[in-house]
Symmetry: C2
Subunit: 481 residues, 2 copies
């Protein structure tokens, strides 16, 4: 380990153990340099690492401080979706969200876009420009159906970090993770089949269930640990579940990381009932902890886990480049992938292979993780400050979305209507449930580096939520009991 990393670790532990308290000034660079017998620049580097992970805060002309403690809203309770298979609704709400193009005046807190303005993405732009200059069949023709081999080699290597050994020959490149999900659902399920899912759950996956005529069996989910295994087992006993669909790492929308023991237990359960698992790992690389958490697939012994992912959250969604590691279902996946959209665009694949292979991906991801962790703390604090008292919020362990729960009678669809004139949009909670539950919840994106703009937007959302809550209370009170 480098000297500055060692020093950063030591200081970081002291802060976390409470040796330095919120608001305390930390030892000066010179003092530490003398105390540890290291150079000034080593100490400065160590402080920069700590700053990046949000543990210290520079104040102009007065040195480094432990940040004031952020206020953290309480976690929501375990969710309680309906315990039976239901057909998916809410398409109209989703459509409203995905219809508009980005880039206007609207602050789209509701969408799942990462920070794509990071300087660490510059090599990616260069790689795209390089790809654009090529005129050969490889860059403008039809790729092979499994996708670019150099890119599959890089993905195979990255997957080692999550404990998975998947050779390039067992990977299929897809048009984003969405296509990976849609293709998998079609390859595994028949119309009418029941799919067990975490709840709340990503709307794109849920709408894919709807499109395939599948029913969702929403499983109660704990905002800190993920899907309830007890509830899942009960459900599997009671219903002929055909597939389990989960996002165990840095879940969208709740942000939890399912502990490894629970991942193993879940896999056991799937084995017992002989059901495949579709694991969505699209945010797994954005865990705030290092090394990144393991995937369920990494524990898989009989190739029953299909892992779907993409570079949409780690690099940029506009590349539309994802993949699936389909385990024993490779042949079926190839067929459904081919009919869905043919082969994938070669240029983004070339550019990604260059970006990852050139060693630019890891530093970018490290930077993003630290940034998103800092932003999470800020966003939590803003929710605490600007939202009605009693508002709860998730405590994401990765990714860049906060889930916010308001009073039971709250209506985030109406909130979005109110917010339209304010130029802000959140994701209404009901699109994350098959049956339209979670209307009293909402999801906000904190990836954006323009913090002042985002704080202002959250303030507006909070003010709107406060006003709406008061309205709803008045209404409830004026109604005859």
């Amino acid at each position: 380990m480098k000297r500055y990393s060692q020093l950063a670790q030591t200081l970081g532990q002291r802060i976390e153990q409470g040796l330095y308290r919120p608001g305390d000034r930390l030892p000066s660079v010179r003092t530490l340099s003398e105390e540890y017998g290291v150079s000034i620049s080593t100490v400065q580097q160590a402080y920069r690492v700590l700053e990046d992970s949000g543990l210290v805060e520079p104040r102009p002309k007065s040195g480094y401080f432990v940040p004031e403690r952020r206020h953290i809203p309480a976690l929501p309770a375990m969710t309680r979706p309906a315990q039976r298979p239901v057909e998916i609704s809410q398409w109209d709400q989703v459509l409203e969200q995905v219809r508009s193009a980005p880039g206007g005046e609207l602050v789209q807190l509701g969408r799942g876009t990462p920070d794509i303005a990071s300087p660490s993405l510059r090599p990616m732009q260069r790689a795209m420009a390089n790809a654009a200059r090529r005129t050969d069949l490889r860059s403008l023709g039809y790729e092979g159906i499994q996708g670019s081999l150099p890119l599959r080699e890089q993905i195979s290597r990255l997957m080692l970090d999550s404990g998975c050994q998947v050779p390039p020959s067992e990977l299929v490149i897809t048009t984003g993770c969405q296509e990976a999900l849609a293709v998998t659902l079609r390859a595994i399920c028949q119309p009418g089949d029941i799919v067990a899912i975490d709840s709340p759950s990503f709307h794109g996956a849920m709408q894919a269930l709807k499109a395939h005529g599948l029913k969702a069996l929403e499983i109660p989910t704990d905002p800190a640990n993920g899907v309830s295994l007890e509830a899942l087992e009960l459900a599997m006993e009671q219903w002929p579940v055909k597939l389990i669909l989960l996002t165990p790492n840095c879940n969208n929308p709740l942000g939890y990381i399912m502990p490894d023991a629970r991942k193993r237990a879940l896999l056991n359960l799937a084995q017992c009932y002989d059901v495949p698992i579709l694991e969505d790992d699209v945010y797994g690389e954005l865990a705030y902890c290092y090394p990144r958490p393991r995937s369920i697939k990494s524990f898989d012994t009989d190739d029953r886990v299909l892992l779907a992912s993409s570079f949409s959250k780690t690099v940029a969604p506009g590349l539309r480049t994802g993949w699936v590691a389909p385990g024993r279902y490779l042949d079926r996946i190839l067929h459904f992938k081919y009919i869905a959209s043919g082969t994938c665009a070669p240029q983004p694949q070339m550019a990604l292979a260059e970006f990852v292979g050139g060693g630019h991906y890891e530093p970018h991801i490290r930077r993003m993780r630290a940034q998103y962790q800092r932003h999470r703390d800020l966003m939590s604090d803003w929710v605490y400050r600007y939202f009605p008292e009693g508002t709860r919020a998730s405590r994401p362990q990765g990714g860049f979305m906060l889930w916010v729960e308001l009073a039971p009678e709250f209506d985030s669809v109406r909130l979005n209507q109110l917010l339209r004139s304010e130029g802000v949009q959140v994701a209404a909670g009901n699109i994350f449930s098959a049956s339209g539950k979670y209307r009293n919840c909402l999801r906000m994106n904190y990836s954006n580096r323009e913090l002042a703009r985002i704080e202002e937007a959250v303030r507006k959302v909070g003010a709107g939520a406060t006003a709406l809550t008061a309205d709803l209370r008045r209404l409830a009170e004026s109604e005859p009991a």
Copy 2:
């Protein structure tokens, strides 16, 4: 009309009327300049136009000549597929074709790639490089679900040439034409439904039928005029056809353009039986005639035609940018498009909008049309020369594929196996039929500008076909009758 165009037209007419005969030397540039009182460069330009459309041929140091007459193989007869709905097979053959990446030593005569090495695509490369340099949400984030508005505006304008007035708000950008087809099939049909298709028919569309659990009702098709309307009517009387799926313009694989009167009659039939039409127009812009042929959709009065297309054949398949004009089915198409792969990659959309909007598309297409027409004549000639006597071939009116029919007992799957060691691959005919008919046929691509390489490849295919035909004959003769 420009002077040189006028002159080119005059000379062209004389050649076509037989005033100059194949092999004749044409008047020198100087003679014509004096005769018509125009400048030397005007005559030179006129000759270049004639050269581009294959009517004259320059010979080094001796001036311009009327090309020797090409040999033209006879047309195949009307096709005779099984007259009942069948489930689609042949996936293994298709997979073999789409598995390999391009760019190796293999000459892939079997794939549907246009000429992407044309200098007229340079502005497109510049546009892609421009898009790659941008770092905003618009270029790297999630587009709106309908796709880029500037691109839809350009497509809407281009569609006027086919007689269609479709506003940008009624277009949906898709991941290539394949996604447009797949999404449409899902939006319109339920598993088990019957779809009437031309026969032979594009394997991607057919495999999409298979993936959706649909049955194909293959309609006898005339290699010069398209699907038999009589047969289609009979089929519709007899079976509950849910959708008609056709490629009426520059058909893949047969290359015909359905005459307008037949397009109208087909639409009438669809109206009578109240069935929607899915019109694949992916080659429509590559018709050798000018102006380009009308689409069936241009005659549509009650929004029952869904037109699917892409820039894959006109610009480059690696862009994976297509569209659907879904008529009355817009809402359903949006849903199925969203779940299939989310929104489409913004950079190719930006670049295409720049390429088309900047006036580079039309000259490129004109150039490609002329090139493909010349290549068609060459390819027909090669087939006549190198294939067994009695081989028939299509007479494409657009696009860049020739359909070749050999003796009934011929086996193009075996031919491909033989050709593997020769580094050549063709598309075996059976992948163009739901039930594996047309095994005695094959399809070859003539887009490529490296003519010597292609001629050599065709020569190898012809030699292989001749040898295999002889083998099969011997075998048949040695068998007891």
